[in-house]
């Protein structure tokens, strides 16, 4: 179960990434963030973001054009 949820539905690049960054920066290490996005580009971008920043992408779930990314703050 996520500690925080960020709904970035309807937002386009780069907003889901910027909002994810802001949300994570307010959280403590080890906490879990769920990011909801409707931007198909965020599948690759969230992965790249996590690779670059060291945060851990636990899972990506797609459901009818809606993506849920579960990220652990490091």
């Amino acid at each position: 179960m996520a500690d925080e949820t960020l709904d970035a539905s309807g937002l386009n690049c780069p907003l889901p990434i910027l909002k994810t960054k802001k949300a994570l920066s307010k959280m403590d290490a080890g906490k879990i963030l769920d990011v909801i996005s409707t931007d198909a580009g965020s599948v690759k971008d969230i992965e790249a973001f996590c690779n670059q920043t060291g945060n851990k992408l636990i899972s990506t779930v797609e459901d009818g054009g809606k993506y849920v990314f579960t990220i652990e703050r490091v």
């Binding site: 937002l11 386009n12 780069p14 990434i17 910027l18 994810t20 960054k21 973001f49 670059q52 920043t53």
Partner: protein, 171 residues
């Protein structure tokens, strides 16, 4: 954060459409743990004005620009009017404002951030904004015309900023 994690951007374009790439790349850069500096020179200074309403986009001399309606029935939205409308019509007074308005509508529909929001997000993320002092004077601007929190400096300062970075873009 190591020094070679720095990125610099030279922003030189002052139209509404070209205002987006520097702010998108800069804000994303900070989100990706880069330290970012943007050096605004020549027409790029427009991007730092308090009043961004003078920023317009025009199809004149811009044949790559798709011209699609942001509203109306699907078949209408699929038509690219760009190649269909004679260029001479874009000389009509008000054409620029109309096209800019349509582009803003299209962006809002696609969930693209507003220019001012992207810019203030960059500032919130500590992107360093440097306005080229020489072009500020050249174009007769006053420092009060620009938003707060920016520096005024010259090319040498850009080089000093860039020397510690490994990622430099000219836009």
């Amino acid at each position: 954060m190591s020094d070679n994690n720095k990125m610099t951007i030279i922003a030189t374009k002052g139209t509404f459409d070209w205002a987006f790439p520097p702010f998108i790349i800069a804000s994303t850069g900070v989100a990706m743990d880069k330290e970012v500096t943007i050096f605004f020179t020549f027409y790029g200074l427009n991007l730092l004005l308090k009043d961004t309403s003078k920023l317009k986009v025009t199809p004149l001399g811009n044949p790559g620009m798709p011209m699609k309606m942001p509203f109306g029935p699907k078949w209408l939205q699929n038509i690219d009017f760009g190649p269909k409308i004679p260029t001479i019509l874009w000389n009509i007074p008000g054409a620029e404002s109309l096209v800019t308005w349509l582009m803003k509508k299209t962006m809002a529909k696609h969930g693209v951030a507003k220019l001012e929001d992207l810019r203030s997000m960059c500032q919130e993320f500590d992107v360093k904004f440097i306005a080229c002092e020489m072009t500020v004077e050249l174009f007769g601007y006053n420092k009060e015309d620009f938003i707060d929190g920016i520096e005024f400096a010259g090319a040498a300062t850009y080089f000093e900023e860039a020397s510690s970075g490994n990622h430099h873009l000219y836009m």
